[in-house]
Symmetry: C2
Subunit: 346 residues, 2 copies
């Protein structure tokens, strides 16, 4: 029989054990361990010593059930495979670190059914709040969140109806801004390079906003190219080669994210294409990787860390506050186009 098993069969320590070891009532032990209520220094010391000596670890499951308080915040995101969502997580962590709240992550892989499952799973832990990426959910998921009784913060996107609070940028506007800046600078033969992801609604909204502005100016998209999977940097390179091979007259490439944009930029530089003179480039997200490229890719910051912070703050405020503040907040951050070095001056 292994070590672990023998320990397994051993009684897990409870408050009662600490109570007996210290000669103090369970209730007072509980008070000491939670720093709640007045306890004499002598009693406190006895309890702390007994708990330490035994190696007591409180059972939050029992505590949560008894107090009807669970200091978890569910965070539901589509993916961990690029830096976008980890950066959102960092913003969330930064704010929650100053509170008793702890984030719990669920990943949906951009699948609505999986999202519904994850939301159900999360809510069954009765968390203090939920942070969910996007505004598009199955009707059942929406119903669950509405009925949950806890603050729900939808993040990343503001183009649509929120269940409760929401924090993000307008991706439609992001696409529009980018198109506007490109046209203003005289580019007219424009190609788009994106991901094969019909369920990435934010990418879709950017594209729609982008194309709408072109159309309003009587400009039509000259070419499109899509990819899925693999190294985004490499795919950006390959797609760029491909789209340029098929469309000799292109003078601008709009990428749906910075990573493929960076790949495209490296390709253009290697091919000796004159950027931004003959060929302009722009991406999306504002990842810090851009800073290290030979020249800075034009982009638009998706404010990931900011969004994470603001979302976490709404949940944190709701928990400590009187409950009257912050509900139904809608925080729209400004998508600011950053021309970098890959679009020419206007």
């Amino acid at each position: 029989m292994s070590d672990r098993q023998s320990q397994d069969s051993r009684h897990n320590l409870t408050l009662r054990d600490v109570s007996e070891a210290s000669g103090v009532s369970e209730m007072t032990v509980s008070r000491v361990l939670r720093n709640r209520g007045e306890v004499s220094d002598r009693t406190r010391a006895k309890v702390l010593e007994a708990a330490r000596q035994l190696g007591y670890v409180p059972n939050k499951i029992a505590g949560a059930l008894a107090s009807n308080r669970v200091n978890l915040v569910g965070v539901i995101i589509p993916s961990l495979s690029n830096m976008v969502f980890p950066e959102v997580m960092m913003g969330i962590s930064k704010v929650l670190d100053d509170t008793p709240l702890q984030p719990v992550v669920g990943v949906t892989e951009y699948q609505p059914e999986k999202e519904e499952e994850v939301i159900f799973e999360m809510l069954s832990w009765r968390p203090s709040g939920l942070i969910v990426a996007g505004l598009e959910h199955t009707p059942a998921a929406v119903a669950m969140m509405k009925n949950s009784g806890v603050p729900i913060v939808e993040i990343m996107d503001v183009d649509g109806d929120a269940i409760d609070a929401c924090v993000g940028i307008s991706h439609t506007r992001a696409g529009r801004e980018t198109a506007t800046e490109i046209l203003k600078r005289g580019y007219r033969n424009i190609g788009f390079l994106g991901t094969k992801m019909p369920l990435d609604h934010r990418a879709r909204k950017r594209f729609e906003g982008f194309r709408a502005v072109l159309q309003e100016s009587g400009v039509s998209l000259k070419a499109e190219e899509y990819y899925s999977g693999g190294s985004a940097l490499k795919k950006g390179r390959e797609m760029t080669r491909s789209i340029l091979a098929d469309n000799k007259d292109l003078d601008f490439l709009y990428y749906s994210n910075d990573m493929i944009g960076a790949g495209g930029l490296l390709y253009c530089i290697e091919e000796g294409l004159e950027v931004p003179g003959k060929m302009g480039l722009a991406g999306f997200n504002g990842v810090e990787l851009i800073e290290g490229l030979p020249i800075r890719l034009a982009t638009l910051d998706s404010c990931r860390t900011e969004i994470g912070k603001a979302a976490a703050q709404i949940i944190a405020d709701d928990i400590v506050g009187d409950g009257s503040s912050g509900q139904n907040q809608r925080i729209e951050l400004e998508p600011v186009f950053n021309p970098g070095d890959t679009v020419r001056a206007n």
Copy 2:
């Protein structure tokens, strides 16, 4: 009064509510909802309908307390700020997705005290297992994990003593392998570029292994450069400029990670340095970004996804299995040097 508050004050749905709505005992409702035990189709249908109609979400807190089973796996990692740990998470998720287990992430920022806190926090939820990055922990943390009675899998590193199971590569060997390959190819004036992180034990072990091999061959490191914070790609570029400015005779640069290596590579290419003829370069991790660089950076795969998968599998096996398998497993993956295009042929 807001919507959420009014819902808050509303009684949260319980099994009892479903029981009353369906006219079936709480116990049988519980059986239906968990798919446990024999229940007649008619009863099952009634219960399911009632639960659906009410929008009942089971309370896992209560279930866990009653059953003494918690389907959570704690995952404790130092950081989310590069792709290394998110990739480990992906491996873990992939395996746990086929089980009832769910990962819960805690981040330590490479601080032992914070790690101790996070481990305590995690264990207080009585998870089914713990996956912890690294083999170095505070004595208190080690004691807690040993006493926890659940499987503990230490990941990423195998150079040291594990508490229970461990899965990873030897970073000492990784550093040694890299040095061996470099020397074999005739490079002799070698510089090292790394992070200012005394608590990143794996980076330290790679460096020590690397330097040990050089010393064994009578070669000494010609220069070192360290950075912290900011865009790793940019820092790699800047550090490379700086180290080359101060050391004209260097013919090889070993980077502690691929991202700064990629920055260095871009810099060398721009400067017209002949890579790999006059200047060799190598990084560490084997990130997929490398595939998109002008030439492939030499590196050594840290097997992140594999490690995540194997670690999760150990926990999963322990839960379903008879408990006799897999404990104290030590899985050492092979660090294979990949010369890419930035070291010359030997």
